[in-house]
Amino acid sequence: MLNNSEKFSHDYLRHDKKFPHVWCPGCGNGIVLGSLIRAIDSLEMAKDDIVLASGIGCSGRLPVYVDFNTLHTTHGRALTFATGIKLANPSLNVIAVMGDGDATAIGGNHFIHAARRNLDLTAIIINNQIYGMTGGQYSPTTPYGSKASTALYGNIEHAFSIAELAVTAGASFVARGTVFHVKLLDKLIAQAIRKKGFSVIEVMSNCHVQYGRRNNMGDPVTMMKWLRDSAKNIKPDGSMDSESEGGSFTIGVLADLEKPDYIEEYARIRQKAKELKQ
């Protein structure tokens, strides 16, 4: 019998795509890819029914390796393409993978409006707190005071909490995980995909090459330990610790709401339009 990783490389990775992948050894992006595949496998979804769309950045290269309908769009715009795809064929499960800069700088406007609109999409945002692909410039999630290639004297801007932004903007489901807490991540991604409406999962990840190196955070293993130690679970009563507390962050499900999604709402519009026409 095949063990799980062999099964997944046969079933889900593309045979005709030349490996190795483009990521630096030890990058968290590969762990997110693994989690995504396991989540999808656990949901027993047909590969033909899945669309994986990405923007531009290291994270944006993720779709090329997996055997779904995959789409590598323009920087910051993955959700706009995903919106068109889902509306044109609602039977598809559309998942967008974005970097923190991708989703909240250049794509910030699309992100909040997608959450507000509540179309049934899943947004996975890999938050490595930096622009990885372009060489370590500061992003909207780079912590205050951190160093970046455009902030050698220390970043004077303040970071977004992506997950909290998503909650405020009206997403149906919001969760945060890390590439250290992989079992939890598998579960959160599966939950997000299953959820009807706009779902966001923010994944805290390590970019040891562009972020860690400049900020003396050590190798990938050391950065993993930092993720382990900074993550705080949501308390059993559902309450959360303050996000700003000493660089720590909450992981788990932050919001899970029931409200009609855009496609259900639009079905009503179609019915009304036809009635009025008669």
Binding site: L71, R77, I85, L87, A88, K272, K277
Partner: protein, 380 residues
Amino acid sequence: MAKNKSPEKVLLQGNEAIVEGALAAGCRFFAGYPITPASEISELMSVRLPQLDGTFIQMEDEIASMGAIIGASLAGVKSMTATSGPGFSLMQENLGFACITETPCVIVNVMRGGPSTGLATNPSQGDVMQARWGTHGDHPIIVLAVSSVRDCFDLTVIAFNLSEKYRVPVIILSDEIVAHTREILNIPAANTIAVVDRIHPNTPPEWFIPYEDNSRGVPPMASMGDGYRHHITGLIHDPKGFPTQNPKEIEAFLKRLFRKITTGFYEIQITKSILMEDAEIAVIAYGSVTRSAHRAVVKAREHNIKAGLIQLVTLFPFPKNAVDIILRQCRAALVPEMNVGQISREVKRVNSHGCHIVKLNRIDGQTITPDEIYAKLKDM
């Protein structure tokens, strides 16, 4: 539209005729963001599409609108957006994405005066070169210009057909005058309208090579979800769709994009001639200016000036052959435009026989009148 057994006579403005043309061509998805003088297209789409089980969505901006129509087209639904100059500028990056991924879609730009917010409610033809060259990189594109309500309907159908056949985004340039002029339109019966759909692959999915060259240079197009899983990227890709840095593959890919359009020149480059048989002076016009030109040419004939009119329906690929014939036949040509001379440059570029070319331009937000054109013709 299936109800239309016989032609239907309606009074429509240009923007509305574009909507009816799009629906007749099979458009079932529209994403847009409001802007004068294009907003009526969004408004009517929001009413008409849900009646036909299509989808209208108002996006947060034009960048998003362009992304959404590409997404819808990739999922198999004919799609369109409409905007004016400032919004068209925002669409440029994703327009390039449609070019490189060979995604059919139609973009209407109801031109207004620019640069920037410019003249929000006045006509202009200032975006001709933006339509041709707006996105980055070398790429072919198809640009059509409408001059009447009739054109708005017919050319929108043609825009969709060309877009589907050649897998290329097609831009329709309109202007404020055409957009808001109301005219009687005979909407043809649905079964008399020729509608072209993209060719879907018929090989087994395992054999499907998404960007494989063929004699037409236009690969069959699979829709997301129909079993032909493949990778689509804005990076230059090999025939299988994966990014490539191989110079041979890069060149072969880009050359194919140009070749498929060159191969189709005979049907893509549309022009219309009026009173040209024995003309000694040609007026070369497009868009609403064509109508002033028509009046001026008729008046010139009344005064024994042998003038004729050629309307450029297709602006790009520039109809070089049709214009060349005119320039050989005539001793002079007049190019009236509501810009400083964007198409007159093209005319000069193809003028290999030394025909005398005269420009007539207005950039004050006003249309060019028949009398102005006639006055120029008298002096030529």
